[in-house]
Subunit: 206 residues, 2 copies
């Protein structure tokens, strides 16, 4: 029997990647994971949801180098409790992602899921992006912000996501070759992007 | 009336990007340009096809820096005959690409066409890639090479394409955000990738 289908989605802030992931999961009739992962991970590691939510993506450039030597954290050799906190969070989340992938088809947004499931069959790794001006407009509307505040939020979030991804995977976030499909959500809009990805998932399934 | 539809395709060596472009143009019933551009450009600049073919992508890392100051070569301000040769080739090809885009729908493979047509409506910029091992296998079969020779050819060609793209566009080749759609051709294979891109072009047209 084939593995369950897993679609991982990395996304630029404000690109609609989370919304696309959720709609795609609904369209395909499979599970959707985003913040649920934090909750599941917290239960495994014994840390509170709030603590993980506050720390999980607060990886700044300056910190990255301190962890360059922490090889092996994704191999499962180390127990989460003996590692510095951010690594323990990453390991807990990685285990949750592997558990999901072992039991059911799902869309998983963020959390370096593409890297965690690298080499797994029946996995489609997607990256969603959009031009800066489109993302800023979206965030202004969604969060009722003025343009300057929205630009700041988009820029900061992208930087944090890029740093987070690089820190744990040693790969460049948003490099086409690291994904199966990258798409500019502004090309066709959210709904048609979902449609295209659903078609692709069905093609891949056959 | 809408602009003619232009699909530009950048591609890693051995990814099948050219083949995908050609099949896609056939499927959509539009023109296909690849080496024809060299020929057309040669006619405009008065250089022989052979000369352009031999020089066009021979941009080595060491050379790049010499041209860092050559700003403005893509603005159309300079006449090709007063510029160093590689710039004149680029300008001639850029003009050919703009002429095509003004008159007919087409698939254009390579030649930094995405950059040359930046900001143009009804343009879809695609990047095709595939894992190294898949590309090496393809080149071994296509060119009857052993594995070592195929690896060398793939690596060298990728490097030349990346340098060429960076030299003329100042942007990173294969960075997802520079394209509308990037796809790993090994995910679904050549035929299904063509099918997906044709569907996408039709969605975009409606």
């Amino acid at each position: 029997m084939k593995n369950p289908l897993i679609i991982t989605i990395g996304r630029e802030y404000g690109s609609g990647g989370r919304q696309i992931g959720q709609a795609l999961a609904e369209r395909l009739g499979i599970s959707f994971y985003d913040k649920q992962i934090i909750s599941l991970a917290a239960k495994k590691s014994g840390l509170s949801d709030e603590f993980i939510a506050n720390n999980e993506q607060r990886v700044r450039s300056g910190l990255m180098h301190n962890f360059a030597a922490s090889a092996g954290y994704h191999t499962g050799f180390f127990s989460a409790q003996y590692l510095p906190l951010p690594e323990s969070i990453f390991i807990s989340q990685a285990q949750v992602i592997r558990d999901i992938a072992a039991k059911e088809s799902a869309v998983i947004v963020g959390r370096c899921a593409d890297y965690i499931l690298a080499g797994r069959e029946n996995t489609i790794n997607v990256f969603i992006h959009a031009p800066m001006e489109v993302r800023v407009k979206r965030i202004m509307e969604l969060h009722s912000l003025d343009e300057a505040a929205a630009i700041k939020e988009v820029t900061t979030s992208d930087k944090e996501r890029g740093n987070h991804y690089f820190r744990y995977t040693d790969m460049k976030w948003g490099k086409a070759q690291n994904y199966d499909v990258c798409i500019n959500s502004a090309l066709m809009g959210i709904d048609k992007t979902v449609e295209m990805l659903a078609d692709l998932a069905r093609i891949e399934e056959t």
